[in-house]
């Protein structure tokens, strides 16, 4: 039993190509159902997100797995009109596939290293396989191990720590000043793309008060309607500053909108700390505003520095995360190897137990009832003890053993089931 995967991700394909091979949930279920019927494979997992489309399958051997995945790749290339530059790089061998799924769940293969959304996407992949009836025992086990690996990496290392976007960084600073963001007032000056990104990040905060100002109030109204808040024009800037705990500025203005003198006049009436985030280039807030005692002013460079420090911290956690991936992959391999040698082990155990049973039957008339009962207990325990070490060894070496050896072992202890002619031969 070998796991192989076809991996088409952001590392080998640009976004123009990746968007051609994205599967919607319905498409994924349909594909998995057809795949299962066509190749008679029960263990299939399809992860399809904006960054990757990856297909994991369980084949009888690597040769079969590579063949199937190659034919799938050819079909996709023809149907969806794209070319993978180096085709063999897209299909991975057994060990690499197992590690790959775990690395994905851990966020090590993500564009933004350590991001946590991928865990949900891996979870969703199993739901899709469930709906297509393509969740075999092995793939479920691999999926469970991958999720466990992802959770361990996030809880035991710093791979998922810190902010990695300007908008999230701004909120992180706000948290460091005000503690919780719940119930705070936010002023968003400007209604461009960056403001929209900040608003998306603010969307999860409960009980917030939001005021969006823009030179042209129409655009501000659109955003206010979408994210829930009050729209206004730049004339309301002073009131907004006075009422807000966090003000994020991102306009295309060529001159500063917020000046120190005006700000100090506005803040005379105000007692709480104010965080000003200037995301505009050229800057929207005069740098001197940061000298006012209750004002914290951070610009794009500050946030870039924060993100860079967090990235460094995340990168430094990679070796630790890889150790966890290796550990979980090793445990999965042990389990899978055990699965390969299971029929042979079952046959071995059954042959020993049958032999004991046979000898016990013979002894039945020669010993008293009490001794017979003791032997009934003793012999199975003896079989267990004798077979314990060979069982452990066979399970551990299952992957390295020749399939022929396992078949022979299985056949050796099932002699009575084999046809007469074969026995005599």
């Amino acid at each position: 039993m070998r796991i192989n995967c076809l991996a088409l991700d952001h590392q080998i394909l640009p976004i123009e190509v990746r968007e051609k091979i994205v599967f919607s949930h319905d498409q994924a279920i349909q594909f998995l159902t057809e795949f299962r019927h066509r190749y008679q494979i029960e263990d299939v997992l399809l992860i399809s997100t904006c960054n990757r489309t990856e297909l994991y399958i369980l084949a009888n051997n690597s040769h079969e797995g590579f063949g199937i995945l190659n034919s799938i790749l050819q079909t996709w290339q023809t149907d969806r009109d794209f070319r993978v530059p180096i085709q063999c790089a897209a299909i991975h061998s057994h060990g690499a596939s197992v590690r790959r799924l775990m690395r994905i769940a851990a966020g090590l293969e993500s564009q933004i290293i350590g991001e946590s959304e991928v865990l949900g996407q891996v979870r969703m992949a199993k739901d899709l396989s469930d709906k297509a009836g393509a969740t075999g025992k092995v793939m479920i086990r691999l999926w469970e191990k991958a999720l466990r690996c992802g959770k361990r990496v996030r809880s035991e290392t710093r791979l998922g720590d810190g902010a990695l976007s300007v908008a999230y960084g701004a909120l992180w600073i706000a948290r460091k000043i005000h503690g919780s963001l719940k119930g705070l007032s936010f002023g968003i000056i400007g209604a461009g793309e960056i403001s929209e990104l900040v608003l998306k990040n603010l969307d999860t905060i409960k009980d917030k008060k939001l005021r969006i100002l823009n030179r042209s109030p129409e655009r501000a109204e659109l955003l206010a309607e979408r994210f829930g808040g009050i729209a206004g024009s730049l004339d309301e800037l002073a009131v907004t500053i006075q009422e807000s705990d966090v003000v994020v500025c991102s306009t295309g203005s060529q001159i500063p909108l917020i000046k120190k003198d005006e700000l100090s006049t506005v803040l005379k009436e105000r007692k709480r700390s104010l965080l000003l985030i200037d995301l505009g280039v050229p800057r929207d807030i005069e740098p001197d505003c940061g000298n006012l005692p209750q004002v914290f002013l951070n610009n794009l460079d500050d946030l870039a520095r924060l993100i860079e420090e967090n990235l460094d911290e995340r990168r430094s956690a990679i070796p630790e995360a890889l150790e966890i991936v290796d550990h979980e992959a090793h445990r999965f391999e042990l389990w899978l190897n055990g699965l390969r040698s299971e029929p042979a082990l079952k046959a071995l155990r059954k042959a020993m137990e049958d032999a004991c049973q046979f000898e016990l039957e013979l002894l039945k008339d020669e010993v008293d009832q009490e001794t017979h009962e003791k032997l009934l207990v003793l012999l199975p325990r003896l079989v267990k003890r004798v077979l314990h070490k060979p069982t452990e060894d066979l399970r551990a070496q299952g992957g390295d053993l020749e399939p022929r050896f396992l078949k022979q072992l299985e056949a050796l202890f099932q002699m009575e089931d084999r046809p007469e002619s074969e026995d005599s031969a």
């Binding site: 809880s155 035991e156 290392t157 710093r158 720590d161 810190g162 600073i173 948290r175 460091k176 000043i177 005000h178 503690g179 007692k271 709480r272 700390s273 940061g290 005692p293 209750q294 914290f296 002013l297 951070n298 610009n299 460079d301 500050d302 520095r305 924060l306 420090e309």
Partner: protein, 257 residues
């Protein structure tokens, strides 16, 4: 042994802060066990001297260390924020090392047994000094974090401390504890028939100044940014007073002796 145990706590907290280990946020059994053992040692010493154990430098510094540890633990329990625990426990560790460097005198020697009222006076004074010390630590951390955000330097303190709001709250609570305990110290001193010259001793003068400062800080409203900054500065000043008192105790012993 207590010094070693506090050292182990510090090492554990350092591992949590540097991310080698993820702390749960709750106070662990090791910390509770160490402070309980410390309390047991102090109670045994109290039984030995028959009063609040401030009979020697060892007693006084060790009791002060225990007061700081317990106050900090209570703050963590109350706020759920253990990001400042390591700083207070560093002071506890230093005080424990300080106390361990003095010989524990045997009770048959010239120790003065103090009465119950003096015991309350001494104990409340140490609680007050512990409160000032913790307020000072939180004040310093608040200022460092504030400067770090203002200057756009997002280093260790920015990442590891909770938030300005939370640290200011802990500073305010410890200021209140210090003011209350020091008020009790002054009230008890009125019944102790102290002479005028005793009130002129430097450690007493500094304690009274601390009481004055922290009493005023407790009465101030909390909401304005400038008040928080002022409180942080005065807390730091208070901490300097604590350093002086610790030095005085180390050199001349507790004046209640």
């Amino acid at each position: 042994m207590l010094t070693v145990l506090y050292g182990v706590i510090l090492a554990g907290e350092r591992r949590i802060l540097t991310g080698e280990h993820r702390g749960s946020g709750a106070i662990g059994n090791w910390i509770l066990g160490t402070t309980s053992l410390h309390l047991l040692a102090l109670v045994m010493r109290g039984v030995q001297v028959g009063a609040c154990p401030v009979a020697s430098q060892w007693d006084s510094l060790s009791l002060l260390a225990w007061c700081i540890a317990v106050l900090q633990i209570l703050l963590v329990k109350f706020s759920g924020d253990r990001s400042t625990l390591i700083y207070s426990f560093s002071l506890v560790f230093l005080l424990q090392i300080g106390s361990a460097s003095f010989t524990l005198r045997v009770s048959e020697t010239s120790e003065r047994i103090i009465d119950s009222l003096t015991s309350v006076h001494a104990f409340s004074a140490l609680i007050g000094v512990a409160g000032v010390a913790i307020a000072g630590i939180h004040g310093a951390l608040w200022m460092l974090l504030r400067n770090s955000i203002k200057n756009g330097r997002f280093g260790f303190l920015f990442k590891r401390l909770s938030s300005l709001e939370e640290i200011a709250r802990l500073n305010r609570i410890s200021t209140g504890i210090a003011a209350t305990a020091l008020t009790m110290t002054l009230l008890t001193s009125l019944f102790l028939n102290r002479t005028y010259s005793e009130f002129q001793q430097p450690d007493v003068v500094v304690t009274m100044i601390l009481w004055g400062i922290f009493g005023c800080l407790t009465l101030f409203p909390r909401s304005t940014g400038s008040v928080i900054a002022t409180r942080a500065w005065f807390s730091l000043l208070g901490f300097c007073g604590v350093v002086f008192i610790i030095g005085w105790i180390a050199l001349f012993g507790f004046h209640a002796q």
